[in-house]
Assembly symmetry: C2
Homo-oligomer: 308 residues x 2
Amino acid sequence: MSQTHLFRALPLSALAISLATLAQAADLPVRASAGEVVKQSKPSDWRPLDPNNTLYMELPTGRVVIELAPDFAPQNIANIKTLVKERYFDGLSMLRSQDNYVAQWGDPDAEGASPKPQGSAKAKVVGEFTVPMKNDKHFVRQLDIDGYAPQIGHSNGFPVGRDPKAGTTWLTHCYGMVGVGRNNETDSGNGAELYAVNGHAPRHLDRNITVVGRVVWGMPLLATLPRGGETMGFYGAGETRMQIKSVRLEADVPEAERSHLEVMRSEAPIYQAVIDASRNRGGPWNKFTPKYVELCNAQIPVREHPKD
Amino acid sequence: MSQTHLFRALPLSALAISLATLAQAADLPVRASAGEVVKQSKPSDWRPLDPNNTLYMELPTGRVVIELAPDFAPQNIANIKTLVKERYFDGLSMLRSQDNYVAQWGDPDAEGASPKPQGSAKAKVVGEFTVPMKNDKHFVRQLDIDGYAPQIGHSNGFPVGRDPKAGTTWLTHCYGMVGVGRNNETDSGNGAELYAVNGHAPRHLDRNITVVGRVVWGMPLLATLPRGGETMGFYGAGETRMQIKSVRLEADVPEAERSHLEVMRSEAPIYQAVIDASRNRGGPWNKFTPKYVELCNAQIPVREHPKD
């Protein structure tokens, strides 16, 4: 989750003291920060990832964990799981890293002479740019205004846009969201080439492309990839593409090798308190509070299971 | 500037053909993309950087160019220039890289036993979190709604928020914007510790901290810094901090070693056309157009002078 402070390198102990001092001096409680609200959560405010909808992408630099959202892209996710089960991604590589936009991975020879065979996966999958509104289970609306969607909110731990008139809902392109690369035709993506947002949310992509989930762990590994030298950040012939060691469904990884992550339940009251703390920032550092939080700044907390 | 497409690795020639084919087939002109609008610009639509308000930060990995905005933070920028003239930053280092937030640099021993002397610079400078509205020269309002500011727009190539009731204006924390780290007191920053936004715009910082300018070149060098392992992305004792070779005012760098960058004039009609192209996206790839562009997605083009 985001941090609210831009300190110089003060030790945390000094901070705690200054918070306490201020509360005492002003004879007022100091409003809890988002981080402090998270600390007040109960175990039931969190849910584990579903092993059947969680991907581990193993890079030479570490593990990237992607939570899939099958309610929002059932057909594309089914095809991705087929590709993963048949080990399509193993040995493929990062194709693109465009600053303040996306990192993208897949087969460098996808359009070349000898693309890697895609086994029993479908070559084309219908674009699931929006889905019927009933699909956004546990939707909780966020009332802050938004320019890209008539309504916004969260569903099962994902940021969501909604158009009640059209009866549609969709995942929004916030930082770390994962989508299905495509050509001009809406069914030209099949999940064999995926991207993750590595900068300011490119929300104009919402409703234009299939979003399948979110990087819930290891996003720095994708964000710090060297930017590619070609147009749109693609790596050129002379550049090294980071190789993907493997992509596995969590369910297919032995228990001892799993990451055991938990996501805060976005429908739990405490998550609304987290958003509210982001909207109304207190504490001695903040001099102005915006009373607003933009959808992609309301980040859903993720943690390692406390027992681990 | 941002790219609009998320292709699979199609050669550009194929793209050009499909654009032409579509225009022909539909017997309609294809709406120009933001990139195509930029290509239609005249030399007079661009301005060079002011050598007296441009910093070159030389890193082992290359040059970061920062355009300063003295109308928005005159006192802090004067102090930064003193620090730069007296070579304060040379040999200091990156202190912090927090994913989806900021990279920050300065003296690792600033709060320690032997901080680097700051010469004739002031130890404290008043916080310039907002300035009088008359300071946002050449302001052009952007009419898209915004949750963080009553009005938004651009002034002299910088993204700006405005509160007409309060009569104030301020630079907004979009990707690449540079600010002055501070402690809890509003005058505790002096420009000796600076940060750049490396992720989704943390606009809640607007009006809470002094923003001095924007990284107009080399942002990938800051964005790809390894994330720090300590709280808030600070580098810990065992981690390598990237050293800053030097920071110089462009005016103090020999002509032959300068970068010769140009920024599109944000008050020029063509810039409004660029924003409009981002708002109303055409072409064969886009299936839905948001008719909206968020302030931090309306990025002001920067280029190397065409003669170079």
